[in-house]
């Protein structure tokens, strides 16, 4: 670099709030927006949690609760799935962590366009309102399953086929607008507004995960947007994009010539990258958690970065492995099975590197660390079953059974949620200045972790014996139709475990609220972490984050336990001639 560039962020004009409304509601501060995203996503996530109770009660004790009608059951599974994947996981990992961490970890004052960032949250909020409006429109929310496959999604007989599906699709389209506004901000900030010395290869892995996930989001959400528009047209004005000639309830409908497979392709062209939109930020964050709490640099940083990039690229060429039984072109199976197995390679590299990071490390079993380790274990379990399902011949009998449910809940449901929990325990001290209660945290962890296995391990078995997914009733005339009676016992066990684990999440919310007022003061850097967000002049950071001058970065984010150094960590902004006697790049 011949001439030094001036970070434009240094004298960026910030819109300082004057009233309560502009400070906490229409705020342009990325940290406030992050908390807004977090609270909204968590609230809507609790709704989805309660919905999962409803469906578990029906599956575990069929007939015992007569208020759970088939309609309510199908509406619950649909809303549970969609809320968890889009409105909780995507919004939390990118909307909340992305907003909070990107400027702080990069040494920026704010996102490049704070106003757009503010609008992004409010549009997201609007999409949540539209989604929840499903419950007040005639017919209630859609019961088509979170994949919303036509033709059934818009045919009479499916719950919410008149209004519920429209509010769902509209809400998704609005969400995509919100995500686009936020995502453009994250990418531009990461690529164009880092501080001095912060090269891409010095960024914490959290930022790499968020960057790649945002790129995937901006390129994959368009497919969902397009399919939502086309399905709205099919439902509303009777076009036949996805609707073939159908005889429904004895009536020949006016549709003809549409292609339901087209929807599935578009949906999964979005849907598979979506899995990595959720997974990649989790990968990144967990790398940082593991490194900080084991006081050791992350093993193979460069390999971790390239693995993230490779997963991102490959995620666009694997989508049809969700469609092996759909009746698509028979040659596709081979191609997509191959690419699916190839994507396991960079993923496995990451798992090995996490494990080797822990090898002979000074591990501190703090609550965030427990969640991080639990993530690695859970992700391995869920990932391995993915190898089964990625092979056509194994997938065909397992398709649409509880094996699939177990697989994706392990790998992209529970695993990222564990990271979210770990990350909240990790960064809560920075956000509020107070620590979360440790005892409650330990309880929360152990119940969630063990409960997860009680819930999802038996589901693999249920899948093998052929229990189908999404059925309202698995018994005919009081007797199991297709599988041993032991399955019913397992289902009861799972339901009870799910109720207990779910209840403990409310305890976590209690912890969040109480610790905000009564938690013990955290200080600037309770975990001894190196990345920039722990180096702000104030805790919690004020609007604008840094003092007069942005920090200058001299090293990567993983200088832990450097031999000869006074402390066991060297923050990123400590220059080399002042690094406690150690020489590291």
């Amino acid at each position: 670099m011949a001439q030094a560039e001036i970070p434009y962020q240094e004298d960026m004009a910030l819109h300082h709030p004057h009233s309560w409304v502009t400070k906490y509601w229409f705020s342009q501060d990325h940290k406030v927006i992050a908390v807004q995203y977090g609270i909204t996503a968590m609230s809507v996530g609790l709704v989805a949690l309660v919905l999962s109770w409803i469906m578990r009660m029906q599956i575990g004790f069929p007939g015992a609760f007569d208020w759970i009608t088939p309609e309510l059951y199908y509406q619950s599974i649909t809303m549970h799935g969609m809320i968890m994947v889009i409105y909780l996981l995507t919004a939390f990992l990118l909307g909340s962590f992305g907003n909070y961490l990107v400027p702080l970890m990069l040494g920026a004052r704010d996102m490049v366009f704070p106003f757009v960032n503010m609008i992004s949250y409010h549009v997201y909020f609007l999409s949540v309102i539209i989604l929840m409006a499903s419950y007040v429109v005639p017919g209630g929310p859609t019961g088509a399953g979170w994949t919303l496959y036509p033709p059934q999604a818009i045919l009479t007989g499916t719950p919410g086929a008149d209004w519920g599906i429209l509010t769902m699709l509209l809400s998704l389209a609005v969400f995509i607008v919100a995500f686009t506004m936020g995502g453009l901000n994250y990418i531009t900030t990461i690529l164009q507004a880092r501080t001095r010395g912060m090269t891409l290869m010095r960024m914490p892995l959290s930022i790499w995960g968020i960057l790649m996930a945002t790129v995937l989001g901006l390129l994959a959400f368009p497919a969902l947007f397009v399919s939502a528009v086309m399905m709205i047209l099919d439902q509303l004005i009777g076009t036949s994009f996805f609707m073939p000639s159908v005889v429904s309830l004895g009536q020949h409908l006016d549709y003809s010539g549409g292609s339901p497979l087209l929807f599935q392709h578009l949906f999964w062209f979005f849907g598979h990258p979506e899995v990595y939109i959720v997974a990649l930020p989790a990968f990144g964050v967990v790398s940082d958690l593991l490194s900080v709490h084991s006081r050791k640099n992350i093993f193979g940083y460069r390999m971790m970065v390239w693995a993230i990039v490779a997963i991102g690229v490959l995620s666009f060429v694997v989508w049809a492995h969700h469609m092996y039984v759909s009746g698509m072109h028979p040659y596709f199976g081979f191609f997509f099975a191959t690419t699916t197995l190839v994507i396991a390679v960079p993923t496995a590299i990451k798992v090995y590197n996490w494990t080797i990071t822990l090898w002979r490390a000074n591990i501190r079993l703090t609550v965030p660390m427990l969640f991080a380790i639990a993530f690695v274990i859970t992700f391995v379990v869920g990932g391995l079953t993915g190898l089964f399902l990625g092979n056509v011949i194994v997938d065909v009998p397992l398709s649409d059974t509880y094996f699939v449910v177990a697989h994706f809940h392990m790998v992209m449901g529970v695993a990222p949620i564990l990271v979210i929990f770990g990350a909240i325990y990790h960064w809560y001290p920075k956000i509020t200045g107070r620590m979360l209660n440790d005892t409650l945290g330990q309880w929360h962890f152990w119940v969630t972790f063990i409960g997860t296995y009680v819930i999802y391990y038996p589901m693999h078995y249920l899948g093998f014996v052929g229990v189908p997914r999404r059925y309202y009733e698995n018994e005919i005339g009081g007797a199991s139709a297709f599988y041993p009676e032991s399955a019913a016992l397992l289902n009861e066990t799972i339901t009870i475990a799910a109720l207990i684990v779910g209840a403990f999440q409310f305890m976590f919310v209690y912890n969040l609220v109480v610790s905000y007022f009564r938690g013990k003061p955290a200080g600037d850097n309770p975990w001894g972490a190196t990345s920039l967000e722990w180096r702000t002049p104030q805790t919690p950071p004020i609007h604008g984050n840094w003092g007069d001058k942005l920090p200058t970065v001299h090293r990567w984010a993983y200088d832990f336990s450097v031999p000869g150094a006074k402390e066991d960590f060297i923050p990123q902004d400590v220059p080399h001639d002042d690094d406690h006697g150690a020489n590291r790049t």
């Binding site: 390129l219 010539g257 087209l262």
Partner: protein
């Protein structure tokens, strides 16, 4: 006419530097480019959907060159209106490029006039589209859900794709007018007028999409 600045060797240099990856690219321009990339995916997905329904339909697909023919001097000229619309959009792209150039020369008045001319061309494009739609709906009897000439998807795809493009053009006209007003107000006097280039990126993109729609929808 120099090639890309920096050459290939600069790729690694740029990506491994601090502060910015895209050297000399203002935030707004980077953001607009990335947005257009995302928008490219939206339009390609629309066109992929169109390709799929057209290739899978077992019913005849009406010939666009006849459906969109207009009578001139007593003869039906295929795609006459479409050809005129194409020319208008290209013309507007040219005036937009000039506006960007004037902006960088700090010739504010010329820039504003050229932006307004661009907006006028854009508005006339939308006007012709309205004419085209109404002719199709009222005279030819084509509806999104049915089509007396064959595959019902013909109308559906046509209204959806051109409608979505038309929305982009309309939004572009509003954007052009808004920025012209801001420039007139002196909002950008202390800048290099990159805003006009950002505006131009969007407008050229709309033209670019039309190139693909013209080839795939009207000429196929």
């Amino acid at each position: 006419m120099a090639g890309a600045t920096g050459g290939h060797a600069a790729i690694i240099q740029d990506w491994s530097s601090d502060i910015t990856v895209f050297k000399g690219v203002p935030w707004g321009k980077a953001m607009m480019w990335i947005f257009l990339l995302s928008d490219t995916f939206i339009f390609t997905c629309f066109l992929t959907g169109y390709m799929t329904v057209r290739m899978t339909t077992a019913q005849p697909w009406p010939s666009p060159s006849d459906v969109f023919a207009l009578e001139a001097f007593g003869y039906p000229v295929p795609l006459l209106l479409i050809a005129i619309m194409t020319m208008i959009l290209i013309t507007s792209s040219g005036t937009m490029a000039m506006a960007v150039n004037m902006g960088y020369q700090k010739r504010k008045k010329e820039a504003i006039i050229l932006i307004l001319v661009t907006a006028a061309f854009g508005a006339s494009f939308v006007g012709m589209q309205v004419f085209e739609w109404s002719k199709l709906i009222l005279e030819e009897g084509i509806r999104p859900w049915e089509n007396s000439m064959g595959a019902p998807q013909f109308g559906a795809v046509f209204f959806m794709v051109t409608g979505f493009h038309g929305l982009h053009v309309s939004a572009g006209v509003v954007y052009l007018l808004f920025i012209a007003w801001l420039i007139h107000k002196g909002r950008y006097d202390n800048t290099n007028f990159e805003i006009i280039e950002i505006l131009g990126l969007y407008w050229h993109f709309v033209d670019l999409v039309w190139v693909f729609i013209f080839a795939f929808f009207y000429l196929w």
